[in-house]
């Protein structure tokens, strides 16, 4: 029996190697860098737990939310939208062509949410009370309450959507069948839940009309966050797939570059439409609040950088690529769009928040805040790689029928 488990462990976890070989095979430069980031991140986590937020961060009473909310939650969740966009496209709109993008997308959503919530626990003062939110004290009037519950539900939904891959790996055919049937319903609820909380993340700032710069503040904030989560999700799929198809090339036995390029361009088209709608709404927004005068201020220039450089430019590049069929440029544009979403979230949560304060009073992250964030990102990448190396994420499991 003992030997049996040992073999199972060796087959499933160590990829058929002896523990010694496995460690040696992983002893390489990228893993060392990841280990460095994770080590530093864990050190900061421990420091935060023992000495409190005041010592571990630059947060203050004027800036209660910093990088850990602005990046880990707002950016993290927006970039973890691939499951939402691809799940909807394939399961609901029946775009079966894209089905092989679905599993990587769901995995990145699942891990994105789990690690975002993990990072959040270090920002919460009394993290050990998180269960209160689920079953002890309900603040129904709070947008954050909606987000908290939706995170909880959505992680469960992603787990269900991911479960078939898990049980294929564990070779539990019956359980896998059960979750495959459940997956479509999970996707439906996923769309509703993800749409609800992606917009709610923008809604968080609805209560701060006097603190957020007028160019960023709008009654449409939830709509902007939802729309940008959609193109963030698509561009993350483009970006991730361009990396994973290089890194995990050996898993793809019949890889067809032309087909892959065509799909990439198709994704670019979808992103372009979302970007164009977003851009038009942004212009309407400025006109509605009559904020034109603000454009000719330093914050206005910064706003224009975001809107022209990271919304209009990618929209035009995606359109150009769709017409000319340039897959490589689509990949770059996907990257550009993702950077734009990061910029937007940091603008709302940090840069344009308390915008009237002189620069000496503004918040900027302490090195330890960046280290923790980097550590969590490194953990996410390692976890992603760990799973993709073991489960049928990039390909259909040969012993199972395709679910799509």
């Amino acid at each position: 029996m003992a030997q049996n488990t040992n073999t199972w462990f060796r087959e499933k976890i160590l990829l058929g190697m002896t523990p010694r070989d496995y460690i040696i095979s992983n002893f390489n430069f990228p893993n060392l860098i990841a280990a460095g980031f994770i080590g530093l991140g864990v050190a900061v986590m421990i420091y935060r737990l023992f000495f409190g937020l005041g010592s571990a961060t630059n947060l203050s009473d004027t800036y209660p939310w910093g990088l850990w909310i602005g990046f880990d939650i707002l950016v993290g969740i927006a970039l973890a939208a691939p499951g939402l966009t691809l799940g909807t496209a394939v399961h609901l709109f029946g775009m079966k062509d894209y089905h092989h993008f679905v599993r990587p997308a769901i995995l990145s959503s699942l891990l994105g949410y789990i690690f975002a919530v993990f990072a959040l626990t270090f920002d919460l003062g009394r993290y050990y009370r998180i269960p209160y939110l689920i079953g002890y004290s309900w603040g129904f009037s709070s947008i954050l309450f909606l987000i908290g519950w939706h995170f909880f539900l959505y992680i469960n939904i992603c787990l269900i959507e991911w479960a078939p891959a898990l049980f294929e790996w564990l070779n539990l055919r019956k359980v896998r069948e059960f979750f495959t049937k459940l997956a479509i319903w999970a996707t439906i609820f996923g769309v509703i839940i993800a749409g609800g909380h992606q917009s709610a993340l923008g809604g968080l700032y609805l209560v701060a009309p006097s603190k957020l710069h007028p160019l960023w503040y709008s009654a449409l904030l939830p709509v902007f966050f939802l729309l940008s989560a959609i193109f963030a999700g698509i561009s993350m799929v483009i970006f991730e797939s361009s990396i994973t198809h290089k890194v995990f090339r050996r898993q793809l036995k019949h890889f067809d570059q032309a087909e892959f390029d065509r799909h990439t361009i198709g994704l670019g088209k979808a992103a372009a439409s979302a970007l164009i709608i977003y851009f038009i709404l942004k212009i309407f927004d400025i006109a509605h609040y009559n904020n034109w005068a603000y454009l000719n201020t330093p914050f206005g220039y910064w706003y224009l950088v975001e809107i022209l450089g990271f919304v209009l430019l990618p929209a035009m590049l995606f359109t150009h690529c769709a017409i000319r069929g340039k897959a490589k440029l689509v990949r770059f544009t996907g990257f550009l769009t993702a950077i734009g979403v990061i910029l937007n979230r940091l603008n709302v949560s940090i840069i344009a928040y308390n915008w009237y304060l002189p620069s000496s009073q503004k918040y900027y992250p302490l090195w330890s805040e960046i280290a923790l964030t980097a550590g969590v990102v490194a953990m996410l990448v390692v976890a992603y790689r760990f799973i993709v190396n073991r489960m049928a994420i990039m390909y259909d499991h040969p012993e199972y029928e395709s679910t799509h």
Partner: protein, 355 residues
Amino acid sequence: MRISRREFLKRTATIAGTSLLGSSAIAHAYEKGGPSIFSTGNTANLRNWKLFEKIEAALPKERYGVLVDTTRCIGCRRCEWACNEWNNNPNKPIAEFEKSAVGKDNTFKTIRRMHAGNFTVVNRFNSLKDGKPIYVKRQCMHCEDPACLASCFVDAYRKTTISPVLHLPHVCIGCRYCMIACPFDVPAYEYYEALNPQITKCTMCYDRIISELIDLPAGSRRPSSALPACVEICPAEVMRFGKRSDLINLAHERIRNNPGKYVDHVYGENEVGGTSWLYLSSVPFDEIGLRTDIGTTPIPNYSRSFLFGVKMFEIVGAWPLVFGAYYAISKARKKHTSSHDTSSEKKGESHGAKH
């Protein structure tokens, strides 16, 4: 009322600067630290909460408030001392408070805000009219429709029937969203507490003002009067405690009876839906650090309409999605049964497309 050219230019520049920066309070330098940010282990909020749970049902449903006449304040900071004393916050002898008002490194050189260890601060502004100092006491405004309450995701705030907005520390998770939501930047946080950090804020001395309304439960601290500690100690009669509606009348009366002395506005009467603390001033309120750009809409209204929208989206939008899914499933099942026997061959050849 002739203004010199120089004065005119100076004022215009100030107004321009003000509108550029949002509000002139902000144009003043804000301080970043101070010893009270290191304070931990606040007990006042929990003490008031426990009292609230015991007696709230017995209290009258009548709003109380405090009227602050900023033209009378002399900046002695005794209110800060009394507040710290009653609420067991870090304190120092009263003489040191008075001393700190003068000298090179005086407290008033920076605009301060409430921190973990102080529920109230007095700030100094210089009148643009005559250059004279104006002292403004700040503390929680105890809104009629509090943003902190609506923003709290574990329901850790209560609006009491007699006005004070209380914080419930023993469900608070420490997310600090109330600090984002508060338009007056009131709630503070114990950043230097690792395990049990709390939100701290002014309680309007709930445990004092109820003493005249009901019999205090056995074992409660006996206050020297039923006034908030800061109101009681004030030597210049800056503050007046009373029923909110009476105070609003009194404020308007003072404005009417002293033409030219006050700006014709009672700050807090309608701001963000009304607050329990009301202010009178001789200069526009945004010149003394009270924001005038916060509007009269209660902050919770912004989130309420959104939450309503999301609910509608989730309830109404869910049905087409569910039907769509059902349709997709039944279509897939049909296809599945018709192509079942060929599926195993197909898998091999379609691998290129599907990898």
